[in-house]
Every structure is written in C-alpha cells, then in structure tokens.
Amino acid sequence: MHWNPTKLAAVTAALLLSACGGGGSETSTKVTFTSLVSFGDSLSDVGTYKVGTIAAVGGGKWTVNDNTSTASRNWTEFLAGQLNLSAPCAAETGILPSSAFVTAGIVSVAVTEHTSCTNYAQGSARVTSTFAPSSVGLQSLGLSTVGLLAVPVKTQIANHLSRVTQFSGTELVTVLAGANDAFMHLNAVSAATTLLTTDNTTTRTAALGAAIAAGWSTTMQATIQSGTAAAVASAAPTEAVTGMATAAAELAGYITTSVVGKGAKYVVVVNVPNIVQTPRGQSLTASGQTLLGTMVTTYNSALKAALPSSVVLADAYTQGMDQYANPTQYGLTNVTTPTCSATGNILAGSSLVCNSSNLTSGVDVSTYQFADDVHPTPAGYKLLNRFVALKLAAAGWL
C-alpha cells in the first residue's frame, strides 16, 4: 500500500473545489413565454419619446436615464430579462410639440410604428381619453403642450390587435394604467375649486376646459358654466371619484374583451400605486391628498372587482405603501425626495430627460425611490419588478 500524499491532497482538493461554491442556476421558466406585450403609461414606457431632442439630451425613459448601464431599466425591462426574452422596445415613437415648445427647442418628430416591438405603453397615457397630461390631444383644446402621444390603453390594445388579429396565448401581457386619469381629474378639481376664491370669465373658462379634458359629465360642465362657485366646488370631487371608477371599469372591460377575449392566457395587471405617497402627492394640501387617495382606492377597487379571474392582479398600491413605511427593509434610504434636478433639465425636472448629468448633487440613485415627482428610479422599478415577479411565480408561471 503506497500512499502518495501529494496525489491524495490534489484529489481531495479537487473534490472539495467541485463541491464548493454552488453557483448553478436553472433559468428556464415553467411557462415558456414567446414575447412580452405591455400596455400602459409612463411606468411601462421603454422609449416612446426617445426621439429628437429627448434622445439628444440623453433621455427617453421615465426614470434616471443612464444609457451606459443595463441597470437603468423600468420594470417591464427587468421582467423581460427574467423571461429569457429580448429587451422590450417601443411599438410607436414620436413627439408632437406645439409651436411654443418647438420655439423652446423641442423638435417635432413624426409618429413612427415599430412593428417588431410590442411595448405599447406611452408616458401620460390614460385608459380611454386622449386628453392626457402634456399630451398632443390637449392641443386640440387650445393648450400648448410638449406633445406626448399618450395613446390611451384602449387604442394601444386595438393597435396591437390590428397587427396580430389575435393573441398567440404564449405572450405575457402586462397592463398598468390609471394614474394619468387621476392627474387629469385632480387638475379639474383644482380648477373648479379656484372659483371659490377667484370667480371670473377666465377661471370659469379654465375650469370648463379642465372638466372637458378630464372627461366630466355634461351636467357638471353646465354647472361650471352657470352654477354658483360653491356648487361647482362641492360637486367636483364626486365627479373626479366617479370618473376614476368609470376608467377602472373601462380598463377591466378592455382587458376582458380585447385581451383575454382575444386569446391572451397570461395577463398581469398592476394597480395604481398610492400616488399620495409620491413627492407630487405630498406637495398637495391635506384635502387634496385625501381626495387623491379616495380616487386611487376607488379606481383600484373597481378594477379588482371587474377583472377576469384568470388575470393576475399585482397590488402595487399596498406593496408601495409597505416600501414607503419600511424603506430600509427594501434597501432604500429615501422615499420622499426626487433624485432628478430641475437644473439642467429641459422639461423642468421631468425624469424623461433626467440622467447622470442633471441629478441633484449628493443623491444615491441606487437607494432613492423617486427619480422625479412621480416616477421611480431604476431601484424603485426593480422593487416593482420583483413584486410582480413574485405574483407570476405564485401563479405558477415562472
């Protein structure tokens, strides 16, 4: 029996090395998805406006844009990376600024369809209405805007169906919309409430315009034209909350009829986060916050009630509030302050044109929740992605 200590040591070491470290991973998912189809607003937009001036200044996504880093993503992009799918791209691009914005340096870029891209989400998009914040639609009401296309979700879905006729059944479809409906309603309430302090032709006209843009009833529009200021102000919040319930029912209807009803088998709907807990929400008066909170909860409840049972609903509202209450648990150090600075930002601090060149000094993008006053940093988007992924896993899809 001849020992060879060196050989034995070598063999032992090899065995130990092969046994150590782990590091393996199974990357295939239970359901093999063939594509990711996204409908919604800025939270899911991967570059609808990444054209012309916006692209030239290093912007394009509604977060801290950092085109040198793959970490600069929104939640749909993180999700694609987990489903073995290529990075999503915008199904339509373009921007149509009004003349004042063109004069200010935002060049107009014609709308272009990208038929190989299936992310239809567009910043500012509402559920049904084309009268969205900063949208090209508002220009028809005589307003000057930067001209966001803001194609509503209803039309986004129709556009997809015009390309494919039917869902294949192997796509993962994501839907996240509703916040821009809330902002338009909130704007109309604000304009209506102004009559209590300043009631003249100008404020009445503004209130009527805001009501039309929000989509308020003709009865309410008549009240704004001829009712007392008190009557207008007291009826406005109810119009706003009712409008949110209507939008939610409409979205659920589109999903039922035109998504699930057209063959989509894997659909995840993310509800509206608690906008009150964004920097913009926090800047509102106490009564404004209460109203906004009611609008969001009304919307989310109506959405939940009307969605088909086969759809996975990710409750980003509740999850976001937990992150707001326990930031450290989620690796966050700041859930109240935007990282994007208005200085050096051609859109007054909007994350659409925010990148490492115009951040507020001293912020750590990787531990801040917010890029601007409503949109998350990539770190915030990753938290949303992880939460949605957990829901997909629980559904047995991952």
Binding site: S18, G22, G24, E26, D322, L390, A393, A394
Partner: protein
C-alpha cells in the same frame, strides 16, 4: 477508492471468524434506505427583500448504509452512510406560494457512539446513540423564480450557496435478529444544525434545519 475496497475486503476476511452475537469486537454492516426531512425554522432574508421572506425544504430518501463496531458488549461505534440527498428549497413566509426557489445536494457525515441494551444475543436490542454530524452542502442551484423575485435576469441569474455546518445528532434505534448472521436495523435521529444561505445578490438568510432522519436497513454480522 481502490484503497478503501481493499481495506474493507481485508477487514471482512479478518472478521469472518468472529462471534455472531453483538459481542465485543463484532463488526456489522447494513444497507437499506434513509430519509432525511428537515424541520426548517427559517430566519428572514436580509434587505432588500419583502419583510419575512423565508424558505422551507422538503424531505428526501436515498440509499442508506452503515458500519458498526462493538467496542464491548454494549458500547458501539457507528458510521452511517448514504448516497447524497437532494433537497428542494421553497419560498415561505412573505414569499409563500412562490414555489421552488432552489435545490441543494446534502451529504451528512456522522459518527455515533451507541449504547445497546440487553444481552449480546438478544432477539431485539434497542439502542441510543449520539455524536457529531457534519452537514455538507454542495451543488446548490437557484431557479428562475429565485432570479425573478430577487431582481436578477436570465443572463445574470441569482445563485445561492449554503454553508456546510457541524451539528449534533441524537438517535434511538433497535436491531431485530433474523438469524445468526442477518438482522434488521431501524433508527430515528434528530440532528441539531443551522446553516446560512447566501445569495449572489449578497443577501443572507439564517436557517435552522434540525432534520429528522429515519433509516431502515438489513444488516450482516461478522
């Protein structure tokens, strides 16, 4: 391997003429099946994570074996053996329902001191034992679920590793004599061992495993 085989053969030859009861100097070998089921008490995954993100694991059955040497008529030294176990890891707590998040190979290595009651030639000899167990974890593998819920991607998947740890095991068991050579051995053991899982994201989770082992084997006395 060749060394071990030769050694064992030599030992068997030497021992072939020894007493057939469980008397001092008796060697016994056994083979059968062994099941290990962890009784997981999971800590929480460290930030950034959902509060109370925990894991669970399931049991696994493998071929088992063992070698026992009677030091005297009552005291024995026992070396249990088994083929490596594969344990699935599941989401629990806040991620309950997420399904399988990973798996690991486990090879527990134990050496027991045992006290065997009754006479060496008794039909049934219960015993108690205890000793150290080294739980070796290797070939840990994460799933697409683990990658997704930790924000990784398929090109940069989240992986995990479990620290191999030393623990303590206590056991109770018994042998039933079939004839002068053959017997049946059954035992149940509880191991007290903790480990720490580390993800490639840098997050950690402390887990008390404390598995219960059940083994049944057919043995042969020399």
């Amino acid at each position: 391997m060749k060394f071990q085989t030769t050694c064992l053969a030599a030992a068997l030859l030497l021992l072939a003429g020894a007493a057939q009861a469980q008397t001092a100097g008796t060697w016994m070998v056994r083979a059968g099946i062994t099941n290990i089921t962890p009784a997981v008490d999971s800590g929480d995954l460290s930030a950034s994570s959902l509060p109370h993100t925990k894991i669970d694991s399931n049991g696994n059955t493998q071929l088992g074996a063992g070698i026992t040497y009677m030091v005297d008529d009552h005291w024995a030294v026992d070396l249990p053996l088994a083929t490596p176990f594969t344990h699935n890891l599941y989401g629990a707590g806040a991620i309950s329902g997420a399904g399988k998040i990973g798996e690991t190979k486990a090879l527990p290595m134990s050496l027991f001191g045992q006290y065997r009651f009754g006479e060496p030639n008794a039909q049934f000899r219960p015993y108690i034992g205890g000793g150290p167990t080294y739980a070796k974890f290797y070939k840990e593998k994460g799933t697409a679920v683990l990658t997704a819920i930790t924000g990784g991607s398929s090109s940069n998947p989240t992986t995990l590793s479990l620290e191999s740890k030393l623990g303590l095991t206590v056991q109770v068991g018994g042998t039933v004599t079939l004839n002068e050579r053959w017997f049946i051995d059954g035992m149940i053991a509880k191991t007290f061992v903790k480990t720490r899982g580390t993800l490639s994201t840098g997050q950690t989770i402390d887990v008390t495993l404390n598995p219960v082992t059940v083994a049944v084997a057919v043995g042969y006395k020399f």
